[in-house]
């Protein structure tokens, strides 16, 4: 991807892209799944940095002056040092603890690419932002890369992603400054995020492996069939507030209906008081 495109994406997220350019970029986004994935990655990376910074500095001021674009540039630069290239179709070991990448909470803590502090940053402000947080930036970037290959694509078209293998890397030293302990970090991850990722992976039909504390106890639950789930969500959306409703409905519109497992055998729960349905 060209430097120019990097800048445009960054400017878009900073709200600094002129209207004409923004429109052109949106058209490109519409046509180019890789570009959409890149944008998602930037966003995740930038916000991970900002949140970590806020926690580190215990201040809230930076929102307005965060210089998101500058941070993204730096994150990209650091990321370019990474060997992994999902876009090239290679398998990727998620390199970062989940903290850095919402939606990738299931990634293991890996040994690869940890804390590669940006070799050179373009602006001193960027250095200030990133110095204590290089690990976060890199982790977010690489984790984002792994996320990119989750199945998605133009609606109505077959899922055409590369086979994805989110491998469970051996747990190593966590690279995120905010994290205290891998276990604590994982424990803090809401299982809903994990569930979502699993649902996404399940859709590919590809074998996947990951380590994640999905459910604190008991056997792995089954998944509610997509069509049924959608019905419940629609019925629920009637009583949601307007903000949440938008989240809920766009989720419905964005998610391709996952293919159900053949026969979709429902797992009968070991619930003591469960009765079979009446004939």
């Amino acid at each position: 991807m060209s430097e120019r495109l990097h800048e445009q994406l960054s400017a878009l997220l900073d709200g600094e892209l002129p209207a004409g350019e923004a429109e052109l970029l949106l058209v490109r986004l519409q046509r180019d799944p890789a570009l959409r994935a890149t944008l998602a990655r930037y966003t995740v990376a930038g916000d991970a940095i900002r949140i970590a910074s806020l926690q580190a500095a215990a201040q809230v001021e930076p929102v307005a002056s965060a210089g998101f674009a500058a941070r993204i540039s730096a994150a990209i630069e650091a990321e370019e040092q990474q060997q992994a290239s999902v876009l090239a179709g290679m398998n990727v070991l998620p390199a970062g603890p989940a903290l850095a990448a919402p939606g990738l909470s299931t990634s293991g803590l890996s040994t690869s690419g940890m804390a590669a502090t940006p070799r050179r940053t373009r602006r001193s402000a960027v250095r200030r932002w990133l110095q204590p947080l290089g690990g976060v930036a890199v982790a977010a970037g690489v984790a984002g890369l792994a996320l990119m290959v989750l199945p998605h694509g133009p609606v109505g078209s077959p899922v055409g992603s590369q086979p994805v293998q989110v491998a469970a890397a051996p747990v190593a030293t966590p690279a995120v400054v905010v994290a205290t302990e891998p276990k604590a970090l994982l424990a803090a991850i809401p299982s809903g995020v994990s569930t979502g990722l699993m649902t996404g992976l399940e859709r590919t039909g590809e074998p996947v492996s990951y380590t994640t504390p999905l459910s604190p106890s008991g056997p792995a639950p089954t998944f509610i069939p997509a069509a049924e789930l959608a019905s419940y969500v629609v019925a629920h959306s009637e009583v949601s507030g307007p903000l949440a409703r938008r989240n809920v409905l766009t989720g419905l519109a964005a998610e391709p209906v996952p293919a159900l497992a053949p026969g979709n055998p429902a797992v009968v729960a070991p619930v003591a008081d469960a009765e079979p349905s009446k004939p």
């Binding site: 923004a22 046509r31 939606g103 809401p190 569930t195 019905s231 969500v233 009583v239 419905l252």
Partner: protein, 343 residues
């Protein structure tokens, strides 16, 4: 400050769905003391936002970013005397069918190109108006959310915005970081956050225009998806007075801050009997609990699922399928579903 927070929470919660008339929404926000001087306090901004969401007509374009993917949406929202009509669709090239959702009155249509179907569900006429059933928020640190002003920013629509965080105080709910347009009070960017502040989902407007008039033609499905076969999905209202045989279901123990505010009855797809729909809320987030008599041939199950921001958990209670779904973490829907009991 605490009282103002309550007003916001109340307003946000009360602005339920669009069927709630603007007047009601306005009345829902008590006319209490105005925070002194500029800049506006976050609670006042959020109150204005809640109001704007249910009183404005607008169209715009936004990106949804979640799970490592980006989707581009267009929305057309027309305020009407009774509720609203809204069309939300995935932006696709001309002639290419893409998913659309059209909400018209109490009917929700989902256009699904992959199956060439339009799935139609309906709500009870009064369903959106939970006025009077919402919890009152009390002063003190036991509030489930905390408001934090995070300063000003230029939003992706290129306009000045205030950034406000509605922070979840525990892991049973999600929070928001909101970019609220300084002039229009419309939210131009919404980040959904977990209780640790991690982003779960982002809706980022790249364009948002307030409109004084929106024609019917803008609210029609795109030609590429017209003519799809209609199928039932979601729910159907029951005739007045009809209830399930066993209708006293309730939740024995709710997560902190949540209250059961309503008990509704409706048909769910495939149902052989009316289902009970319990509505649980903490003032901002809402969880629905559906209690169904299992349909013939449908095996009871325990399981979970997620669509976008909505998590679901289903289990079996005394032969009934109990499903909780809401824009909350998975642990919350599970905790609620597991506590459902017949009366």
């Amino acid at each position: 400050m605490p009282r103002a927070v309550h007003r916001f929470l109340l307003a946000l919660g009360l602005a339920l769905v669009g069927t709630l008339p603007a007047a009601v929404a306005a009345a829902a926000a008590p006319t209490a003391e105005a925070p002194a001087g500029p800049p506006l306090a976050p609670e006042e901004l959020l109150e204005r936002m809640s109001n704007a969401l249910v009183t404005r007509s607008y169209d715009g374009e936004f990106l949804r970013m979640a799970d490592g993917r980006v989707d581009r949406f267009r929305v057309v929202h027309r305020r009407e005397a009774q509720g609203f009509t809204e069309r939300v669709y995935v932006v696709a090239e001309a002639g290419v069918p893409a998913r659309e959702i059209i909400r018209r009155g109490n009917e929700l249509q989902r256009y699904l190109p992959e199956t060439r179907e339009v799935v139609v569900g309906r709500a009870n006429a009064t369903e959106g108006a939970l006025l009077g059933y919402l919890p009152l928020f009390h002063d003190g640190h036991d509030q489930p959310y905390e408001l934090v002003a995070e300063g000003r920013a230029t939003s992706t629509t290129g306009r000045p915005a205030r950034v406000i965080q509605v922070r979840a105080r525990d892991e049973y709910r999600l929070g928001y970081r909101l970019w609220v347009d300084e002039k229009t009070a419309m939210p131009t960017r919404t980040d959904l956050l977990d209780s640790e502040g991690r982003i779960v989902e982002q809706l980022v407007f790249t364009e948002l225009r307030l409109r004084s008039r929106i024609g019917d033609e803008e609210l029609q499905p795109s030609p590429a998806v017209r003519g799809y076969a209609k199928v039932a999905g979601g729910a159907e209202p029951l005739p007045p007075g009809v209830e399930p045989l066993r209708s006293g279901w309730h939740v024995a123990h709710l997560p902190p801050g949540f209250r059961l505010v309503r008990r509704l009855f409706k048909w769910l797809p495939g149902g052989t009997e009316p289902a009970t729909h319990l509505v649980v809320t903490d003032g901002v987030a809402t969880v629905s609990v559906f209690v169904e008599t299992p349909a013939l041939g449908r095996v009871p199950r325990v399981g979970s699922g997620r669509i976008g921001a909505a998590a679901a958990y289903t289990t079996v209670v005394e032969g009934h399928q109990v499903t909780a779904v809401g824009e909350v973490p998975a642990r919350t829907v599970e905790a609620i579903a597991r506590q459902v009991v017949p009366q």
